[in-house]
């Protein structure tokens, strides 16, 4: 064996040793951290819910200082993957789990925790009044079948507003998001055409892109900036974002035929409309509700937990106590409303708490009185 191959062998050996050492070290550290700091609870997922979850985990420090919660907005997809792989204690998701994901995660359960509204924002030259839209018009605009602002369908909803003869640029989210899922869910409810040809998801194939009149913006701020910079454009953002940035948003005519403005109250009305129609998995869409004051473009964000395979019972109790506090405490509700979200109305909350009461740890119920 000559010198060169000899040293190469040594190198390979060293590299292999380093790699294997890294592997074992990582495993060891993760298992010790789980057992030694049991009060550290890790969650991640939906960015839609991030502002509220961050606020809640921070506020909860003063309620129960011994519990540390940590929530990261890595996206619903990442959250679902994390809870299935058992790398998270809880996950946040705007999208519901698929049948395969339920099978892979074995004992997963979804719980709605909050609802958020999505609002249309616009920038039309020469129009300062608050615009009124309805579902058919909104779907028509994003379907590229309504292409001018002075279209008779829009004019009929806005008497007294002088709408220009200008082409509509439709702005949508370029990044996958729960906001888009809620918005496209609503468009699917408004228009059978949309439901058949486009559908609803965190990102979809926009007909306006095909028609050449669509623009994608990244995040709420990207959409808002594109609408602000593009004359005669329309877009959609979360109500919380519009409130925080003082952006004027359009009113909608809801299913009952009434003009409604997005707010915590109209959001709660939408939730009440569908309180009796939850699936066994406790999921539901709340778009286009029939109530007199229901905001039509709304959606739940969910918490995902393992219902029977949690083994650290102190941690499980801390986790459920936190979410019980979040769902019932008036301070938590007020903070959520300030951020433009709405907590669950009574009719929904009782069902969610009842389901949380079914969670067991090593065979015993975790919440004593849900």
């Amino acid at each position: 064996m000559n010198k060169k191959t000899n040293s190469m062998m040594v190198v390979m050996l060293v590299a292999a040793l380093i790699l294997s050492a890294c592997g074992t070290a990582a495993n060891a550290s993760s298992s010790t951290s789980v057992s030694s700091i049991s009060s550290q609870i890790n969650g991640a997922g939906s960015t839609f819910a991030l502002p509220v979850y961050s606020d809640w985990t921070y506020t909860y420090q003063s309620v129960n200082p011994s519990v540390t919660l940590n929530y990261q907005g890595i996206g619903s997809g990442g959250g679902k993957k994390g809870i299935i792989d058992n790398t998270l204690d809880f996950a946040g998701s705007d999208a519901v789990l698929s049948a395969e994901e339920y099978a892979a995660g074995k004992d997963l359960q979804m719980y709605p925790t909050l609802a958020g509204a999505v609002v249309p924002i616009y920038n039309i030259e020469g129009v300062s009044q608050i615009l009124v839209l309805d579902g058919v018009v909104l779907a028509g605009i994003y379907n590229a079948t309504i292409t001018k602002w002075n279209d008779p369908a829009i004019a009929a909803l806005n008497p007294g507003v002088s709408l220009p003869d200008a082409s509509i640029t439709a702005v949508h989210r370029s990044d996958g998001s729960g906001t888009t899922e809620i918005f496209t869910n609503a468009l699917s409810a408004f228009s059978a055409d949309w439901k058949a040809n486009v559908g609803a998801s965190t990102s979809v194939e926009w007909p306006v892109d095909k028609a050449g009149t669509g623009i994608g913006g990244k995040g709420n701020q990207g959409v808002a900036a594109a609408v602000q910079n593009t004359p005669d454009s329309i877009g959609y953002v979360e109500l919380s974002y519009a409130i925080a940035n003082n952006i004027t948003f359009a009113d909608m005519i809801n299913k009952a035929g009434n003009k409604v403005t997005a707010s915590a109250d109209t959001l709660a009305s939408a939730m009440n409309d569908f309180a009796g129609s939850f699936t066994d998995q406790l999921t539901n869409t709340i778009v286009d509700g029939p109530g007199a004051t229901s905001w039509p473009i709304a959606g739940y964000t969910y918490l995902i937990l393992h219902t029977s395979s949690m083994t650290d019972c102190t941690k499980a109790k801390n986790l459920l106590d936190f979410f019980k506090w979040a769902l019932t405490d008036p301070t938590a509700a007020k903070h959520a409303a300030d951020l433009g979200y709405s907590v669950l109305p009574d009719a929904v909350r009782t069902q969610v708490l009842a389901k949380m009461g079914e969670v067991t740890c090593n065979g015993t119920t975790v919440l004593s009185n849900p």
Binding site: G78, G176, S203, V204, D209, I215, G216, N229, P231
Partner: protein
């Protein structure tokens, strides 16, 4: 007793010192092993990234097949129905990188020649610093500046002008037909922002290449009666050609992979128009945009496959560029090769 103990101690210390000295003296071997190990680690890392991308996109590759890569004017990217074609993103990445290179290379060479040859001595250093500072600006800042200043102020008027002139020329109209959106977000905007971002990279390296040209070469040329312009054009640039090509490759690498600034200005439309005036999409942008919230397996795998294509594309382009540099460098004196 006391005394003998201290003697033993002293002897032990001396023995230790000797051992350390020996280790340092014969340190070549361990040092070699260490450096080779580091080099091997880099190769392993590269391989593992490639393998990971290949394995994690397996399902998408078998379901979507070669149709995923097919150039088509009516490409589909539909997460709801699970229909994915990557052509608009491949086109967007290639088009924006190419156009930005075409714009940036002459400008950077001009800057480099000025800094290395024509600039007064006292201005050289501060100007060089300023230019290097441009390269240090985070890309998200370029994106923000693009959205609020550059796009409405420069790109939109330029785009309107181009689409109204070149947009009706047969042949060119395919790449220049308008209208450009009012916000300016388009493939053109991405190309222009990219060209600004890669100019300092190319210019800084090209300047160093010019500065490395031996003074004797310049003096010889001038002594033969060449003008300054002839010296630059016929001596400096041919002498440094392989180094300049290397600089261009680095710029291309940055343009291909740039994500944040491009995502913010490219318009993010999967419409798949070939025109530079229309909103488009790039490979890195679609991954950055959709990966976090890709809820179906096929969707995330299709995104990973795009990552794989980008990985292979960068690799192939780099190899081709290396070959080019090598070919050009063969006819050069040894110290001029990059």
């Amino acid at each position: 007793m006391e005394r003998s103990k201290s003697v033993v101690n002293r002897r032990q210390t001396a023995a230790w010192l000797k051992r350390i000295r020996l280790l340092l003296h014969y340190g070549d071997r361990p040092w070699n092993v260490l450096t080779i190990g580091m080099a091997v680690l880099v190769i392993l890392l590269m391989l593992s990234i490639g393998i990971l991308l290949w394995v994690d996109s397996g399902q998408a590759r078998s379901i979507l097949g070669l149709g995923f890569l097919k150039p088509t004017s009516n490409a589909s990217w539909n997460p709801v129905s699970g229909n994915f074609q990557a052509w608009p993103f491949i086109y967007g990445t290639l088009a924006t990188s190419l156009v930005s290179l075409i714009l940036a290379v002459p400008i950077s060479l001009g800057v480099a020649v000025f800094l290395a040859e024509l600039c007064p001595e006292w201005l050289r250093l501060p100007l060089g610093w300023l230019f290097e500072l441009l390269a240090a600006i985070p890309s998200v800042v370029y994106g923000l500046w693009g959205i609020f200043v550059f796009l409405p102020g420069v790109v939109e008027p330029v785009g309107s002008f181009l689409s109204s002139t070149l947009g009706s020329v047969p042949g060119l109209s395919l790449f220049f037909h308008g209208p450009i959106p009012g916000s300016g977000a388009s493939l053109l905007a991405a190309s222009l922002v990219l060209s600004i971002m890669i100019t300092p990279t190319i210019a800084a390296i090209a300047r160093d290449v010019f500065l490395a040209v031996p003074v004797t070469q310049r003096e010889a040329s001038l002594a033969l009666g060449a003008t300054r312009w002839e010296t630059i054009w016929k001596v400096l640039i041919p002498y440094g050609l392989s180094g300049i090509l290397g600089a261009v490759i680095l710029g291309l690498g940055r343009a291909l992979g740039e994500t944040m600034a491009v995502t913010m200005v490219v318009g993010n439309s999967t419409g798949g128009s070939l025109s530079l005036m229309r909103p488009g999409y790039t490979m890195s942008s679609i991954i950055a945009n959709e990966f976090a919230e890709a809820v179906t397996v096929l969707h995330s795998q299709a995104l990973i496959e795009i990552g794989l294509i980008l990985f292979i594309m960068t690799l192939v382009l780099n190899i081709l560029a290396r070959l080019l540099v090598w070919r050009v460098g063969r006819g050069m004196p040894k110290e001029a090769r990059a």
